[in-house]
């Protein structure tokens, strides 16, 4: 008998004041179409709110959508908070306007993967399916 796969749970979040969330929303749709359970936080989330939602929803992955250039600071804050709350097993991925040259540093500090504007849905899905242990 084939084992029923437990769906991967992903929280997609918009930190800060930026109100452009169509990118975040279409990724949520794509993840759902791929059989994952994706939740969108809505706008103007603080890092604390994001972590709290991630714990409450018991997600496997947190995805931050950042277009403001504040990605390094936000990634650092989020990873620190994940550690504090003892939920470091949750993966952190980033999407949005992220300069190529910042990707190595982001991965160094613990970001699992970066998906800048133009990333294919299929790539995001493939990465998560591989990276999340279920």
């Amino acid at each position: 008998m084939e084992e029923k796969k437990i769906p991967i749970r992903v929280l997609i979040a918009k930190p800060g004041l930026d109100g452009h969330d169509m990118g975040a929303k279409v990724v949520v749709r794509a993840l759902r179409d791929a059989g994952m359970e994706a939740i969108y936080t809505g706008l103007r989330q603080s890092v604390d709110q994001i972590i709290r939602a991630a714990v409450q929803e018991d997600v496997d992955v947190i995805g931050l959508s950042v277009l403001s250039g504040a990605h390094l600071g936000l990634a650092e804050k989020t990873l620190k908070k994940l550690k504090e709350e003892r939920v470091e097993d949750k993966l952190l991925i980033l999407g949005g306007v992220i300069p190529r040259e910042d990707v190595p540093r982001l991965k160094e500090i613990g970001v699992a993967e970066v998906f800048p504007v133009g990333s294919l849905f299929t790539d995001i899905v493939a990465f998560l399916e591989k990276a999340v242990k279920k």
Partner: protein, 556 residues
């Protein structure tokens, strides 16, 4: 002698012969416009048959204004070339404006940072990374005084890209005028002030919809009596289009929003002609040239009909859809960025051939940078070359009469009306937004388009087709957060707070809350509050206590 009926029959026969001789049994692929309208291989006078010239097309400057809002359009007076730009501190903004004025540009455009737009003060630690980033930080009247220091408000007009806090910004502008000794009746400009599109696509909303509409109506009413030269609102389709809506939805959602605003103001007993002449609109200019031109013509025609038939307007100025447009940045690519100059040109062309009244061309580096001097200059050059070197401005509505364009205009008008009718049936634009219906429709459209791009079905030259092998995307040139700007603003604000009369501020804020809790127009109490240097955040918080905060429609 050939009667019209005989001519028609002859053309019909000739078309049939053409089909048989030239097309034969060849399978011709079907084509649709970008928003999905089926397109014929070619159009003929027979396609004009159904469209009444006098009723639907007419002359520029006359109802239904399909061909343009002014009789001679650009002959003598080009559209306004208004490039949107932002600067970090009030002092820098003042310097830049003085430069522009010296260069002969009497129209200023103010971009505000996100904290200002969303009602947070620069000293709020939650938002410190955003201070001065996408525009100028304005915390109190002091900042507005600095921005317009040495700039007489009766000699310029100012466009403010501000929405939920538009009344606060207007209150400050009025206070500055009074300090300068300029009669408030002489100041003019435009306030964006369109809250519905914030909920849909732009995201700077603060309060829930109903109190937000009240604020907008308060502003329109106040300006009717005290600031008659101010364009009180710029009802926008641009943002929802960039968020994924198609050209038909862009106009339908925009005009349906306009209906909400007009109805809100009419509820107060004002006559339509008392305020409608000061309504303005914002659209996008896309790449599907003919569809875009048809869109603008259809939009003008529909608004004229709505103003006259639905609202009983008598003043032709109430029926004139005047619009500002920006070239669509979402069609730009990061790869091979100079290609975007071509895209910018086609988009700008669609606006000009479509009768735009003011135009912004987006810089070619939009996909990866905050605009540089080079890309800003290039953007302005696109406008200037089209204006001065091509001759397209010499004739009003130059594409009018094209069998294709007239047919497409009529079809667009019909499709837009259908969408608007459905919205009315579902309770109106406000109800549809509250139920999340519009958001769903836009997201669906955005998702389909993104998938089509990722599959290569929607071509983006250089990016998903004809990719050059050894060219890579340019590096992102992002604006780094400037610690100096934050420090400067925080210090500025600290000084204002230290020097103001706290008692007066407390009283003024109490007045604001009282006015908000009653049916009083909020402008007088806001003007009083800004004059005693209450901060943007303080005034917004006072209003939040009465109005509450917006909660996004749950289900994605």
């Amino acid at each position: 002698m050939n009667s019209p009926a005989e001519i028609k029959d002859r053309i019909k026969r000739e078309e049939e012969i053409w089909r048989q001789e030239c097309l034969g049994r060849k399978a011709v692929p079907e084509e649709r416009s970008t928003s999905g309208l089926p397109l014929k291989i070619v159009y003929t006078p027979l396609d004009l048959d159904l469209i009444e010239f006098s009723e639907k097309i007419g002359f520029p400057g006359k109802y239904p204004f399909t061909r343009g809002v002014y009789p001679t359009m650009y002959r003598g007076n080009f559209w306004t070339m208004r490039q949107y730009a932002g600067f970090a501190t009030p002092e820098e903004t003042n310097r830049r404006y003085k430069n522009l004025l010296a260069q002969g540009q009497p129209g200023l455009s103010v971009a505000f940072d996100l904290p200002t737009q969303c009602g947070y003060d620069s000293d709020n630690p939650l938002i410190e990374e955003e201070v001065g980033k996408v525009g100028v930080a304005v915390d109190t009247l002091r900042d507005m005084e600095i921005i317009f220091e040495g700039i007489p408000l009766d000699r310029i007009t100012t466009s403010f890209t501000i929405n939920p806090t538009a009344s606060i910004i207007l209150a400050m502008y009025i206070a500055v005028a009074e300090k300068q000794g300029v009669p408030v009746a002489k100041i003019g400009g435009t306030l964006q002030n369109d809250i519905l599109k914030e909920y849909l696509a732009r995201g700077t909303q603060i309060f829930p919809p109903r109190p937000s509409l009240r604020l907008i109506a308060d502003l329109i009413e106040y300006c009717k009596d005290h600031v008659p030269k101010m364009n009180t609102i710029s009802i926008s389709g641009y943002h929802v289009r960039e968020a994924g809506a198609n050209a038909i939805q862009e106009v339908a959602y925009c005009l349906s929003s306009a209906v909400v605003y007009v109805e809100e103001v009419l509820k107060r007993g004002m006559g339509i002609d008392e305020f409608a002449p000061r309504l303005s609109f914002i659209f996008s200019c896309g790449l599907d040239l003919f569809e875009e031109v048809a869109k603008f013509r259809a939009a003008r025609q529909l608004w004229a009909e709505i103003a006259k038939e639905k609202f009983g307007a008598r003043d032709p100025r109430s029926m004139m859809l005047r619009f500002f447009a920006g070239t669509m940045a979402s069609c730009y690519t990061a790869r091979e960025p100079l290609n975007n100059i071509v895209r910018a040109t086609v988009c700008a062309l669609s606006g000009i051939l479509g009768g735009v009244n003011a135009l912004h061309v987006t810089g070619y580096d939009e996909a990866y940078a905050t605009p540089t001097e080079d890309s800003t200059r290039m953007a302005l050059r696109v406008q200037q070359i089209l204006a001065y070197e091509t001759g397209i401005s010499k004739v009003a509505d130059p594409l009018g009469g094209s069998y294709y364009l007239e047919s497409l205009t009529e079809r667009m008008a019909r499709e837009i009306s259908q969408v608007m009718k459905k919205i009315e049936e579902d309770g109106g634009m406000l109800a549809c937004i509250e139920k999340g219906k519009i958001q769903q429709a836009v997201l669906q459209q955005a998702y389909e388009t993104t998938k089509a791009i990722q599959k290569g079905e929607k071509v983006r030259v250089g990016e998903n087709r004809f990719q050059a092998k050894d060219i890579r995307e340019p590096d992102l040139a992002l604006q780094k957060a400037d610690a100096d700007v934050l420090r400067h603003q925080v210090e500025s604000l600290r000084r204002v707070k230290a020097e103001r009369d706290e008692q007066k501020v407390r009283e003024a804020l109490a007045q604001v809350k009282e006015a908000a809790s009653s049916a009083q127009n909020l402008l007088p109490s806001l003007i009083q509050a800004v004059k005693v240097y209450a901060t943007n955040g303080e005034m917004v918080n006072a209003l939040k206590e009465v109005f509450g905060e917006y909660k996004e429609a749950g289900n994605l």
